[in-house]
Structure formats: C-alpha cells, structure tokens
C-alpha cells in the first residue's frame, strides 16, 4: 500500500482504481510500520469506493482489521446522493462507552475492592444463558425501549434527567422505527436489556491518576484519586441481528441500484432508497436499545456500590460524565469543499468529538467541547479527552475509540497459555471477575496497542485534547 506522509501524524492513501476519494490515516511513523501488513489499510481504500463519499476515507490511530470497514474508520457520504452501509456501522450498533464519576477517593475503596467487584459481578449479567436485569420484556415493551432509548430508562426509574443530558443525542436517536426490527432481533434482545456481553465489553472501576488540563477536569467534575466507573457495551443481540437482517436485504438490493463494491460486507444502498430508509429506522431503534442498556447497567452499578460499601447515595455521588457511541451512522452538517453540507457520517469504531461551541452539545458541556471516552486495555489506563475545533475541519468531528488490537485473539490466547492472568493482573493492581478464561486471555493487556500512543497522535493532530487518565483497579468481563 502506497502511503504519502503529510505530517508526523497523518498519512494519505492516494486515490487509485475505484476509489472516489483518497484515504487518510492518523498514525505515528511507528504505528504505520506496524500497519503495513494489516488488511486494515486496504479496507480504508475499499471504503473510499462508496458512492457519495466526500472528503476522505478516514482512519483513526486505533485502526485495525475489521469486516468491510476497518475498525477505527470514518466515512461521510452526501446525505442526498450518497449511500448507507450497515457494515459501516457494524453488528454492534451503538456500541459505546459511558463514564460515571463518584465522590469516593481511591483510599476509601481500596480495602473493599473484592467486595465491590463481587457485587458488580453478581448484579450485572453477561447476558448468555442468564436473564438480564429486566427479565421477561414483551415485544411491545421492547418496542417502547427502541423508540425511547434512555428515556425508557428514565420513565422506569433507571435514570435521571441529568443522565440523559449527558448522553450523546440525549440517549435517543431520532427516526427510530420499531416496526423495522425483526421478530428474531426482538427475541435476541428480550433477555438482554441491562447485560454486558462478552468479547471486549467490560465494566471497569478506576481511579484518576493523571490530570492533563485542570480547568477542563474541574468543569467535568474530575480530580486526582477520584473513583470512576466506565461501561463498554452495545445493543446486544438485538443490534447484531438487525445488522445481519439488513446486510442480507441490502446485499440483495445493491445490484438494482447499480452499486458494485470490493467487499460484500460493505453492502450499501442509496440513503433515499426504501431499503436505506428501512435500515436507518432500524439502526436508530437498535441504537436506542444500546443507550437504554448502558443506562440500566449504570443504575445496577450504582446499586452494587451502595450495597458493597454500605454508603448512602449522597456519599457515593454517582453521576454520569458522558456517554458516547462509537458504531453509528448520523446525519450531521460539516464543511465540505468550503461549504456546509448535510452528510451521513459512518463511524465504525470511532467516536464523535465535536469541538467547543457545537450546538449538539448540552449547555453545560458546550464551552468545553464534547467529552471523548477512550478505554485502553485492562492493565494500563483509559483516557478522557475533549473534542477540538480541528476535528470539525479534518475528521467530520471524529476521534479514536480505544487502544486498537495489536495481536489476534488467537495469538493472545496462545501467549496466555499456562499463565495465571488473574495473578498477573492482580500484580498490576487490577482485580478481575470474568465469566470465561478465554475472554481474559483474548483481552490481555498486551493484545492491545498502548492507548497513550493513540491519544497522543490525536492530540498532536489537534483533534482531541487529553483531560484525565484513569487507572483501572477492578474489571468485570462477560
């Protein structure tokens, strides 16, 4: 793959063949060397072939090999003439991250870490072979969930108004059409509201061990030593099935629209087509399920803290800092070729990162820029960033979403063979509770890039600014 170096942290894949725009990859020279053999760069070029794509096919520094789109890919298509691609959103529609802060200091929690981890592990189901936190939801009730998102959680006592204000889109994406979700998708989701899932999903308790910008940290209510809770999960089986249903439908319809793409997983149809509109209604519905799911889990986590630490809600002070989604397609206005245009931004393993003053941000956060939550691996650290103005000009208001895998799951399991990963993580100061050993092996710290390098690239490119670093001390895995 030919790459042109544009700066120390930005590389261009020149437009060749069926590419409609060039590709652009945010990465350090060291990262680029590691990527050259990875199919992810070919996937950046493939995404550049989507009809209606504008600007560049973008890749964030946590890019790695996905299916169709690379993980860490961003593509904006013209809202009128462009296409929508379910593969550009992914199976886990609105997979995302939320961060809650507490009033607790690490010194208070440290002697009680095991009780706290046990309480969280007991209260938050993984969702396989077990009922979710809210068992027995009927399809009619699920239709309410997918229509309302986190508002359903508010109506049912799992959220506060403040939680919704601090959630991207207020926890409810407009345009959701519950009738566009299949019966099978509802059945897959019926037991899974309030469940974590497995793979790279987690709940992590951390302490803030570094503040980079004290003014921004103050404004977000973050301080050194403070205990925080990060939840990473998505739309569970309901979303997975919805993506599958529409990949099939849209894959079959592409030929009618004269669309031919280099990877079947990129299947796309015009946004304005009946299939495209149906997918967008279903995608928004699945996204709403995900917001409700994370909100319910946050409520469960609060209950676990109160129970394990025998403290009052006022002492705990459990409050949402922000909730972001990193698998989604959204209609947004961005400047393209010098003029404001409505585009549909596909973010596949990428986080919205709107700069200060953006009207989509809630009043309390607008002057700061959007919080961007970037989990690392479970042994090292995670970051809280904020979006900068440059992101609006260069990345359609997008930034990285995580560390990015370095090692295949297979290699991670091979390297973990015979090792006591629980003990190794304990030595790093991390208590782990997990439903499967394979899950820990695949997610072991060195299977991932160092997330610090990822966020440093984004900061060097002035896309996002670091606010605080979170050091995990207890992790719950599905």
């Amino acid at each position: 793959m030919d790459l042109i170096k544009l700066s120390d942290h930005l590389w261009e894949i020149p437009k060749t063949g069926a590419m409609r725009v060039p590709g652009r990859v945010y990465a350090s020279a060291k990262m680029i060397e590691g990527m050259r053999e990875d199919p992810a760069l070919t996937q950046v070029a493939n995404v550049a072939c989507l009809p209606g794509i504008v600007g560049y096919s973008l890749a964030m520094p946590d890019i790695h090999w996905g299916y169709g789109f690379p993980i860490g890919g961003v593509a904006a298509v013209d809202a009128r003439g462009g296409v929508i691609s379910p593969g550009g959103v992914g199976y886990d529609i609105n997979c995302g991250v939320r961060l809650a802060r507490t009033r607790l200091d690490f010194n208070f929690v440290e002697p009680r870490i095991d009780q706290l981890a046990d309480a969280l592990f007991a209260r938050i189901p993984a969702g396989v072979g077990s009922w979710g936190a809210i068992p027995g939801l009927s399809i009619e009730q699920l239709k309410e969930v997918v229509s309302e998102g986190a508002k359903w959680a508010l109506r049912n006592g799992y959220a506060t108004e403040r939680d919704l204000e601090h959630t991207e889109e207020g926890g409810m994406l407009a345009g959701a059409d519950p009738d566009r979700i299949s019966e099978r998708a509802y059945k897959r989701g019926a037991k899974q509201l309030g469940t974590l899932g497995s793979g790279n999903h987690f709940l992590e308790i951390s302490r803030i061990d570094e503040i980079y910008d004290s003014k921004l940290a103050d404004a977000l209510g973050l301080e050194l030593g403070q205990v925080t809770v990060m939840i990473h999960s998505g739309s569970r089986g309901l979303g997975h099935q919805t993506c599958d249903d529409y990949l099939k439908l849209i894959g079959g319809a592409m030929a009618r629209y004269g669309i031919n793409l280099p990877d079947r997983q990129l299947a796309a149809v015009p946004i304005s087509s009946p299939e495209g509109q149906a997918y967008l209604g279903a995608m928004a519905a699945a996204a709403n399920f995900a917001w409700c799911n994370r909100q319910v889990m946050m409520h469960l986590a609060e209950q676990a803290f109160l129970e394990a630490l025998s403290i009052a809600p006022r002492e705990l002070g459990f409050e949402l800092v922000y909730d972001v989604c990193h698998n989604i397609a959204k209609f947004e206005e961005h400047i393209v070729d010098g003029r404001m245009r409505l585009v549909c931004v596909h973010r596949k393993g990428a986080t919205r990162a709107f700069g200060p003053g953006h009207p989509a941000l809630p009043a309390a956060l607008r002057p700061l820029g959007q919080p961007v939550l970037v989990p690392g691996d479970m042994g090292r650290y995670s970051f809280v960033l904020v979006g900068l103005e440059t992101a609006m000009r260069e990345t359609f208001g997008s930034s990285c979403h995580g560390a990015g895998r370095l090692m295949s799951r297979m290699k991670a399991k091979r390297e973990a063979g015979g090792r006591d990963l629980h003990a190794e993580l304990k030595a790093l100061g991390v208590t782990v509770r997990a439903h499967s050993r394979a899950g820990i092996a695949e997610e072991m710290p060195h299977a991932y890039k160092d997330v610090a390098e990822v966020v440093e690239v984004m900061e060097a490119a002035r896309i996002t600014r670091r606010v605080a670093r979170l050091k995990p001390f207890a992790v719950i895995k599905g």
């Binding site: 992810a40 072979g129 897959r188 497995s198 793979g199 099935q241």
Partner: protein, 149 residues
C-alpha cells in the same frame, strides 16, 4: 440430490482451525465432501460457543436453509444455528446433514444450554460475509469463515 447423513464425530475442536485475525474470530475447515463441510461448520460453531465435551445429546432440532450459492448457504446455516443458541438457548454436539439440491437440512442433537454445566467460551455476534469462502475440488472441500465477536 439427497446424500447419506454423515456421522457425528467427538473431536469437535479438531474439525477446524482458527486463523489469525486482529479483531475477530476466523476459522478454516476442510472436509472430504460438501455435506461433511457443512456438518463440520455446525459442530465448529457449537465448539466456539461452549466446551461441547459436556453437552448431552438428549434432544433433537432441525434447521433447513436454501440458497443459490454455497457461500450463502454457509452464511445462512451458521446464522440460523447462532439464532438457535442465542434465541432458543439450545447447544448441540451431534450434527447430521442431508443435501437436496440448493437446500440442506441439518439435524442437531444436544440439550438446553445451562451455564452452570456448560463452560461458555465467548459470545459470537454474527457470521460475516467478509472473506467468506466455500470451495469444492476433486480433492475435497474447504471453507473460511470470519465471525464477529
């Protein structure tokens, strides 16, 4: 054209091999016949979801799929099987395949998934189309499948 059902095998994990994929889970399968390839794929999926050694073959389920291309047949079969696990909570260890033109019928023997008895290996979100391959030659059949996990 119907073919003779293939017999189940017990060495489930030996029927497939994982290949390196950065983010997801990829497997390759070889089989002497087309029917055996689909059967091995069914067994492989169960073995990726749970430790199948402890699965008792006490209940039977049937899945039928039809598609023009073998590629779609493989995708749709595995997707139906994934739904059998995720929606109905059924896990299997034995599989028999009957081929009839563009359709296949798979008979599965197993039991309801019980997390207390069956060690869960990890969630599979979906069967992707990315680099999906099903190829037959006089020497045998081969498939390559990437699951989103």
């Amino acid at each position: 054209m119907p073919t003779k059902p293939t017999a189940p095998q017990t060495e489930d994990a030996a029927l497939f091999r994982e290949f390196e994929h950065t983010g997801d889970l990829g497997i390759e399968l070889d089989a002497p016949t087309r029917g055996e390839l689909f059967r091995r794929a069914a067994i492989a999926l169960a073995a990726l979801l749970v430790e199948t050694a402890g699965v008792a073959e006490i209940e039977q389920r049937e899945i039928a799929v039809e598609a023009e291309a073998d590629l779609d047949l493989m995708h749709d079969l595995l997707t139906e099987l994934l739904a059998l696990f995720t929606v109905e909570g059924f896990i299997w260890r034995g599989a028999w395949v009957k081929e009839a033109g563009r359709s296949i019928r798979v008979t599965l023997r197993g039991e309801p998934f019980d997390p207390a008895r069956h060690a869960f290996r990890g969630e599979i979100k979906a069967v992707t189309y990315h680099q999906l391959m099903v190829e037959g030659s006089p020497g045998g059949w081969r498939s390559r499948i990437i699951f989103d996990v």
